[in-house]
Symmetry: C2
Amino acid sequence: KCLIEGYERGHDAQSSLPTVDVEGQDISSLSDAPGGDNLPYEVQRAQEINRLFGPKGSPEAYDVIFDLHNTTSNMGCTLILESSKDHFNLQMMNYIKKAIAPASCLVLLNEHPLLKYSTSRSVAKHPVGLEVGPQPQGVLRSNIFEAMRVILKHALDFIELFNEGMEFPPCTVEVFWVSERIDYPRDANGNIIAMVHPNLQDCDWEPLNPGDPMFQTFDGKTIHYQGSGTVYPTFINEAAYYEKQQAFVTTRRETLLASAIRKA
Amino acid sequence: KCLIEGYERGHDAQSSLPTVDVEGQDISSLSDAPGGDNLPYEVQRAQEINRLFGPKGSPEAYDVIFDLHNTTSNMGCTLILESSKDHFNLQMMNYIKKAIAPASCLVLLNEHPLLKYSTSRSVAKHPVGLEVGPQPQGVLRSNIFEAMRVILKHALDFIELFNEGMEFPPCTVEVFWVSERIDYPRDANGNIIAMVHPNLQDCDWEPLNPGDPMFQTFDGKTIHYQGSGTVYPTFINEAAYYEKQQAFVTTRRETLLASAIRKA
Ligand SMILES: [Zn+2]
Ligand SMILES: [Zn+2]
């Protein structure tokens, strides 16, 4: 069972809209909350998703959900996984990367011991996020539309081959493992006092080294990255993340091993 | 008297929000409507602007209003005028263009016998729109912020020189004179069936010739421009204009003559 969902009202909604962000919450706890029309839209929607495509963790849950997003960040085609041990999904990533070469797509691994990042798509056994950018909110760009269509086609090809009994041998997959959320610099009242530095803007996935420019204050001062080593920023200047107090996330590049898989 | 206004809730608001677009209405007629809190926000705001900075057409009206916008279109720095006979504004355009060279800014002339385009800034004697892009809604980019700051600085310098009594000799100014609004192709139910063609996307101000690709349908067909001559499209794929049924506007390039001006 496979669901393809274009989910526009969640984390990519216009940041000025008052939204409850389902992706930041634990959906299994949401599903325990009492239902009813007076719950925020996103909570109702999350309960509905869990009822229709879950329940999460149960054998009846959907096998795969593709959760289609677009972003104002210059992330290109990004596939988002939630587990470094989901060999089915890692094999799918390897298949898609090979299929679209020489074009490229990157894999963001949202697995973190502290930053809980539980998504509505995670009711499925193999949740896959697809994030393509840059595209402003409220705009449809033909290049983004086409990129998404191509990635999804290869993903569905992979599932079909798997269902036909093809064996996928062990492989390695490069992933960008989420590390830290970086907020905008703020004054004592919580007001943002700086913008993403022009040297960092649009440079998603490019190395950010200690001492590199990171923010530029409104009066023109540069704020440098003070981390201990090289990181790879992404979701840089995503519109929907101002309200989540996130200018970008840092990641570390890792190579994961995917075991062979074959339909039982 | 000069007002600088960043006006985000009007034509650049998220297109999915239900808005009344003040810019499409005649503000002097709005000001005749009865006031009160049950009027839409934008109408109330327009009445307030007319009361504070007008009344439109009166000697007490503000001299200059700068109306600061940003756009999802790849328009760069665009100054928007409403009259081909406003020699003060044309001289200002000439001054700014020379001051920022070799960087460039373009002048869009929103003067049209049929397309009424009456803006809230038009309560001033010399209304100037400033439109900078591309910038997604809900995002602040340092390059856009800086470009806007530089243009505004030169505009204020010009006003200061004028107030000090400097004479500005006759000059010519290249403008892009608005010609036609082009809607997205739609089916019988009014649903959009095509996107801006990749060859046109981001090509604001570049010539569009009869036969050039203009839209791409969702099933991959190309729709070509059928006009009778070369035009210069702008506001291509602006988020806020989907609801106004406008994919882009066409303009024609003209050279205007500005008379000498000097403070009386
Ligand atoms: Zn997203
Ligand atoms: Zn605008």
